[in-house]
């Protein structure tokens, strides 16, 4: 049964090769990509059910036992995030396919499908990697695919954005490699479970340096302030579905890696001040940046930066309640951010512009199909945390954790979180005003652009519905997050599962 753990990586990689060989047969490519992602989703769900019932599933790749051999580990956190990530990746793929149909200048250039599959494989490997070096390989796999996706059909703006994006990511990758080397020099192992037992013995200075270096490495990928500058400059230039999948998943992998590494390798007893300060800065800078923007995609990118701060908030508290809040927030945010970018894609396709001021003047309210309104409303209100939507559930968990933790730092975090929530609502209202309320000016509705095929709308509806499912299933999901967080704080289960022999 351990093969279940390998499939989310193996299937997309093998299919990527096959899809590349099917060059020229667009229908076959689409069908294969969709089929493979569906299979991976089914596999991830089965994995989650098993992990939930029997504890972590560990696979020793090639039969070599850890800590020397490579292991893939699916614990509750990894399995849960894998399910959500693949679900969103599948929905975005359907959106891209729908958008590509009947549009020769589409996002579906030749390398799209293979790159997309490799991206999903990298995501899967990042969630399942059981050692630090494999995590590096996973990041590289994922990022290499993303370099291709962000520069698809490269015109000038995309080449410019691609340069910023690629150079920043590469710098962080090389820092990661350096960190791996230094960790190996200090402890003699890169296996995460093995490391968990060895970092305790390190001198305080070495521990702090390694912890900070890894925080910076993953901080660049997760776009925390002040390492966020690259994100709003590069994401908005990519086509809507690609921006959606990047925004929803890539930064979250950075957050996941931070959570995994810091809880396992550098456990703390009290508030983590560095993360707390960074969390407050990220929330405020991100949302104040968003409020100033005129381009809808840039606005959403800045809110993405700001909301990474919420995930750091839970990590900064460093207790079970805080981490449970972080996990819940990651799940909610993956889905909601993806749906917002997809809705923005529909709006931009209908109005032919991404600029809010031009939408307002052009009478966007008449052009945008009325069905898009409720989709945006649900996603935006959920992001802002209006009860009873999923954002409220996640924010409530975080705020409750902060208040329960007590102390000046935790209260400051809670206050910043509330302010950020308000600013988010303001930013979302700006988009709503520009895109959905028509001006008083009368005139024939412009027939600008296509409003997107039925499949794009269906895919967007799917992500929004998934967001609503998070609300409906909030109870069980919160329970699941709490158990996952408990396993993070008490790392013994993870260590025993990996080092205690195969199951």
């Amino acid at each position: 049964m351990t093969a279940l753990v390998a499939l989310p990586v193996l299937l997309p990689v093998l299919a990527a090769g096959l899809v590349l060989a099917l060059h020229g047969r667009a229908t076959a490519q689409r069908a294969l990509t969709v089929a493979v992602l569906t299979a991976v989703l089914a596999d991830a769900v089965v994995l989650l059910v098993r992990v939930e019932r029997d504890g972590p599933v560990v696979m020793e790749v090639g039969g070599w036992p850890p800590p020397l051999g490579i292991v893939l580990v699916a614990d509750l956190l990894a399995a849960l995030l894998l399910v959500v990530a693949v679900l969103v990746a599948l929905a975005v793929l359907l959106f891209a396919v729908g958008q590509g149909r009947g549009d020769p200048e589409s996002t579906l250039a030749m390398p799209f499908h293979p790159s997309y599959l490799l991206l999903v494989a990298g995501l899967g490997l990042a969630f399942l990697a059981g050692d630090l070096f494999n995590l590096f390989v996973a990041f590289e796999l994922m990022l290499a695919a993303s370099y291709v996706l962000i520069t698809l059909n490269a015109g000038r703006p995309r080449v410019r954005a691609g340069m910023t994006y690629v150079m920043t990511s590469l710098t962080s990758s090389l820092l990661f490699l350096t960190a791996v080397a230094l960790v190996y020099a200090a402890t003699g192992t890169v296996n995460l479970a093995d490391l968990a037992g060895r970092t305790e013995g390190l001198p305080e200075g070495v521990r702090a340096a390694l912890s900070l270096l890894l925080f910076v490495v993953f901080g660049i990928k997760a776009a925390v302030v002040p390492l966020h500058f690259w994100l709003p400059d590069s994401y908005p230039t990519a086509p809507a579905p690609i921006t959606a999948v990047f925004a929803a998943l890539l930064t979250k992998v950075g957050v996941y890696a931070t959570v995994r590494v810091q809880t396992l390798l550098f456990p703390r007893e009290d508030l983590w001040w560095t993360a707390a300060v960074v969390a407050v800065a990220t929330m405020l800078v991100g949302l104040l940046g968003a409020v100033a923007q005129d381009d809808v995609n840039r606005l959403l990118s800045f809110t993405l930066v700001g909301h990474v701060g919420y995930m750091l908030l839970g990590l900064a508290l460093f207790d079970v309640a805080g981490l449970a809040g972080t996990i819940l927030y990651v799940v909610h945010h993956i889905i909601v951010q993806a749906s917002l970018f997809l809705v923005a894609g529909l709006v931009v396709a209908a109005t032919g512009t991404a600029s809010l001021s031009r939408m307002e003047r052009g009478g966007a309210g008449r052009v945008v199909p009325p069905g898009v309104r409720p989709l945006f409303a649900v996603a935006a209100l959920s992001l802002a945390g209006i009860p009873p939507l999923s954002g409220f559930v996640a924010k409530f968990a975080l705020l409750r954790a902060a208040v329960a933790h007590g102390g000046a730092g935790a209260y400051a975090l809670a206050a910043a979180a509330l302010l950020t929530s308000l600013l988010t609502l303001y930013a979302m209202v700006r988009v709503w005003r520009a895109a959905f309320t028509g001006p008083a000016r009368r005139g024939p509705a412009r027939t600008a652009g296509r409003s997107g095929s039925a499949l794009t709308v269906a895919a967007t509806v799917c992500t929004v519905l998934a967001g609503l499912t998070v609300t409906v299933g909030a109870g069980p999901l919160a329970d699941l997050s709490e158990r996952a967080a408990d396993a993070l704080v008490h790392a013994d289960v993870y260590r025993e599962a990996v080092l205690g022999g195969p199951r």
Partner: protein
């Protein structure tokens, strides 16, 4: 306690500093060279942390002699993987630089104008009449970015 070869330490330090310096240049070609040097630095660091050079870690015939005569194979395997990855990414960067050269005749990273436009919006509003007063203001073209 492991001892560190001073020469190697200096080489790694030199590669990192020149690499970072080049990485901060505007031209993508120089940044690429910086990336290559930085990659070499990181790979060399991986090799150095494996300890001093020693015999190939191949145990023949099943006997298990003193492990200290062998080199540590793990960092070497990691360095090999990292080299392959850096190589692949280098070719991608070359293609990107070429693409940029085709499109705009140079490979320099351009500033993002949107930030500056928003940053100076308030100042421009002071100087110019309000947009509402001039309904005929030509809109910014799509190709401006």
């Amino acid at each position: 306690m492991k001892t560190l070869d001073l020469t190697m330490a200096l080489v790694v330090g030199g590669l990192f500093s020149t690499g970072v310096y080049l990485l901060l240049q505007r031209s993508l070609m120089r940044a690429l060279l910086g990336f290559i040097l930085l990659g070499h630095g990181a790979n060399l660091l991986l090799l150095v942390v494996g300890g001093p050079p020693a015999a190939p870690p191949i145990v023949a015939g099943g006997e298990s002699p003193d492990p200290r005569v062998y080199a540590d194979p793990l960092p070497q395997a990691m360095a090999l993987t990292a080299i392959v990855i850096t190589f692949g990414v280098t070719t991608f960067l070359l293609a990107l630089a070429y693409r940029s050269w085709l499109l705009s005749g140079h490979d320099e990273t351009q500033d993002d104008v949107e930030d500056r436009r928003i940053g100076t919006a308030a100042e421009r509003a002071d100087v110019e009449p309000a947009p509402a007063a001039r309904p005929d203001t030509p809109e910014r073209g799509e190709g401006d970015r």
